[in-house]
């Protein structure tokens, strides 16, 4: 009787854990020196994706470079291969699967190419985690700022070097919570930087890098006139709207 009792209690605990826990699925492993531009059969090259019309189906392979958010069983990701970047917007994904994704994880994504306020993205997508790992280097696009060429690097991990922090509004603040200062701690940070007399607005996207991250804290410490090197993802909203992930003194 005692044995049965013990067995049943153990089973109960196990069932309880299943009840409160999540599912599981396969992971991924790194491979050395793989070609990040190589594609499996039936998968588009970046050039083919770039040429695809809006609202058409696309199948791509890419490597996670940043996880913006998970919300209501939907994940938003910055991904990239050896040739270009893909912004994956609200892809159906469980929270457990989302937690498994790390920078470099290779995924195959099927969805629709779409545009929202100038941002090219893949929506209504499904995915598979694949074998492989690649982390892109931030590409220095400082000299492309203010030019039509910049859009070619949309969604890529990019770097801006030797920028000068400017005041974010008439109050002289170096950053604002939300674009107009209407927010509070934890909201997006907006700050201005200049180069060669032209000023650009950059963002710390709070879902991507929240209040507890180094970059969020670093931007809050900026002073007008600071010289900084910046890295981030070249997001687009009615023009370039970089989501900054790193700020360092130049």
């Amino acid at each position: 009787m005692k044995k049965i009792f013990a067995t049943l209690l153990a089973a109960t605990c196990a069932i309880s854990m299943i009840g409160c826990g999540g599912g599981s699925s396969s992971g991924t492993t790194s491979t050395a020196a793989e070609d990040p531009s190589a594609k499996s059969e039936g998968v588009m090259t970046y050039a083919e994706y770039d040429a695809a019309a809006l609202d058409t189906g696309v199948t791509i392979e890419a490597y996670v470079q940043g996880k913006q958010s998970w919300w209501d069983n939907k994940a938003t990701l910055y991904t990239q291969d050896g040739d270009g970047a893909y912004f994956i917007y609200e892809m159906a994904m469980s929270e457990d699967e989302y937690k498994k994704l790390t920078d470099g994880t290779k995924i195959k994504v099927q969805g629709f190419k779409s545009e929202w306020s100038g941002e090219i993205e893949i929506v209504d997508a499904t995915y598979e985690i694949e074998e492989g790992n690649y982390i892109a280097e931030a590409k220095d696009v400082t000299d492309k700022l203010g030019t039509d060429e910049l859009v070619k690097f949309q969604n890529q991990k990019v770097a801006f070097k030797g920028m000068t922090v400017e005041q974010a509004d008439d109050s002289g603040a170096a950053f604002l919570y939300n674009w107009d200062g209407s927010g509070q701690e934890g909201d997006d940070l907006y700050f201005n930087v200049s180069l060669d007399g032209k000023t650009y607005s950059f963002t710390v996207e709070s879902y991507l890098t929240g209040a507890d991250t180094e970059v969020y804290k670093a931007v809050k410490e900026l002073k007008v006139g600071d010289k900084v090197d910046l890295e981030g993802f070249l997001y687009w909203y009615e023009g370039p709207n970089p989501h900054i992930t790193s700020v360092k003194a130049a």
Partner: protein, 546 residues
């Protein structure tokens, strides 16, 4: 036979088995609560008096439209309130999205960490009320002679109940009781590029109709020999963009007196009128005459760039609309010159216009300490004082929810100064406000019940789906719509809706399979424990007898 044996056993050792079963039930309940449940609270009872000597901290979850003036108004309201009630501290947490507030409240109900005061929609309150006494019913508070609306012990000049616009107060009634106070109200407006309408050879009618909007929108899709749209000479033109497609569907149904839902949670949206609406929208999306915010972007961005003719958005978004809009997301070199006309949303019956009433309300969450709840109520009422109402309404195309505020000379002067500047008195914003005030009697809200927020989401999702589908060359026919009805029913759990229950825990539907298995297992274990203990008892008794 075995049933009788078990029954006999239960009778013979009733107390022990009952205790075991109670423990099992308790354990099961605790486990389930730990996973996703919520705790009940004692119903709030109004204290005899407010204890001004007691230090009280309350949390206020507020929503702004990413508008720093609104943030400042909240901050000033809190500071002013704290001066009147120095023993009360109000901590504000700002949101820019009702959906996020809703999600966070739901998450915090299960841990009993809800805010004290929260901006919300009545649809959402219906879901909050699935726990016992989670949201404080306000009828008694409103009527309380000391601390109620216009009460003798208030330290500020708040409105009486009769001074709240009755339509707006009624929107906060769920079942038999009022669970919120209206804070601000808005409706939707159609912001029209009048210049382009006339360029296309049309004259704007007195009342905008769906037929007119569709006809002009189709005409605007014509291109020249270079592939540019003839009306604007650009590569981009989406003549008609709708921001909130849930409102679009709801209003189109209401205007045609078509069923949507009942107060008891009965879902009626899946009907032939809806089918006809979806087919019509699909046709115009296919031709490029129509799109939505979710698919394309903010209507204001396209309107101000001369890439949209009919932009439907909230009156609370009026400061973004038009060539002189004080707020804009597009680069100055993309903006074009045009005249903006402000209309109610398009109508089917010009003699009987109908439009949605929307905007934030404020609810109070119940807490163990009645003094804390009373402080929450005092702060909630304070948000309806003239200073707060007028200041906040002027930030956007909102209207004050009290006649007391509307009747002030200050507010009337604000309205009269329409167009005197492109800031506080921006003409499009005040036109939108006036339009709403003039149409208050033509506004409506949809029935509120546990699941009504999901139904609203589903209503919009169907428009989004057909619009996306035709853009992707799919065929929207009866088979497609049949499938769509099924998929949104499943996705939004529309087969599990129910009436708002007024503070009692409502039926959340059948337990999931895992929960049933868990409870079943627990019951079996505790029954076996009981048997084991019973067996020991009998053995001991026999030994003693021997």
């Amino acid at each position: 036979m075995s049933e009788n044996k078990w029954a006999a056993g239960l009778t013979a050792h009733g107390k022990k088995f009952t205790a075991c079963l109670a423990a099992a039930a308790c354990a099961g309940t605790m486990l389930l609560t730990g996973c996703h449940g919520s705790r009940g609270s004692q119903a709030f009872v109004i204290p005899e008096s407010f204890d001004a000597s007691k230090s009280i901290e309350i949390t206020f979850w507020a929503k702004n439209d990413t508008n720093k003036t609104q943030t400042r108004i909240y901050e000033k309201a809190i500071a002013d309130f704290e001066k009147l009630y120095p023993n009360v501290t109000v901590n504000m947490r700002l949101y820019t999205d009702y959906g996020k507030i809703y999600n966070d409240v739901i998450t915090n109900i299960s841990t009993n960490t809800t805010p004290n005061v929260c901006i919300t929609y009545p649809d959402n309150i219906a879901t909050y009320m699935t726990g016992s006494n989670v949201v404080v019913p306000l009828d008694e508070l409103i009527a309380d002679p000391k601390y109620g609306m216009g009460g003798s012990e208030l330290l500020y000049d708040g409105p009486t109940k009769d001074e709240v616009i009755p339509e707006f107060l009624e929107e906060c009634r769920l079942g038999e009781q009022i669970y919120a106070l209206p804070y601000m109200r808005s409706t939707e407006a159609c912001y029209v590029n009048k210049t382009y309408v006339e360029k296309l050879g049309y004259e704007l009618p007195e009342v905008l109709t769906w037929d007119f909007v569709w006809e002009v929108s189709e005409a605007a899709t014509a291109k020249d020999a270079d592939g540019n749209y003839a009306v604007n000479g650009q590569k981009t033109m989406i003549p008609f963009i709708y921001k909130s497609t849930d409102n679009m569907m709801i209003q189109m149904l209401k205007q045609q007196d078509a069923p949507y839902s009942q107060e008891d949670g009965t879902i009626e949206i899946f009907n032939d009128t809806t089918r006809g609406i979806l087919k019509e929208i699909a046709g115009h999306a296919q031709s490029g005459a129509f799109s939505t915010f979710k698919i394309s972007s903010y209507p204001a961005n396209f309107l101000n760039a001369g890439q949209c003719i009919f932009a439907v958005d909230s009156t609370a978004g009026a400061t973004w609309m038009g060539m002189n809009a004080p707020l804009s997301d597009i680069a100055p070199d993309k903006a074009v010159e045009f005249e903006t006309a402000v209309y109610p949303v398009p109508q089917y019956d010009t003699g009987n216009p109908k439009m949605i009433s929307q905007g934030p309300s404020v609810c109070i969450f119940n807490k163990a300490d009645p003094q804390v709840v009373l402080a929450s109520w005092l702060f909630t009422q304070y948000l309806l004082t003239n200073d707060v109402q007028i200041a906040y309404a002027e930030t956007e195309g909102y209207v004050p929810v009290t006649q007391k505020a509307r009747d002030t000379a200050e507010y009337q002067e604000y309205l009269a100064a329409e167009g005197t500047d492109n800031d506080v008195h921006y003409d499009v914003k005040i036109k939108a406000t006036r339009m709403f005030i003039e149409n208050t009697a033509n506004t409506f809200v949809t029935p509120v019940f546990n699941g009504s927020a999901s139904l609203r989401d589903a209503a919009g999702q169907m428009i989004e789906d057909v619009t996306k589908s035709v853009k992707r060359k799919a065929v929207v026919d009866d088979a497609y719509i049949d499938n769509l009805y099924s998929s949104v029913t499943a996705l939004y759990r529309l087969d599990k809706t129910g009436a708002a229950t007024g503070g009692e825990a409502s039926d959340l539907g059948p337990l999931p399979g895992e929960a049933k298995a868990l409870i079943g297992t627990l019951v079996v274990v505790w029954v076996l424990i009981g048997l084991y203990a019973g067996n020991d008892y009998l053995k001991a008794k026999k030994k003693k007898a021997a």
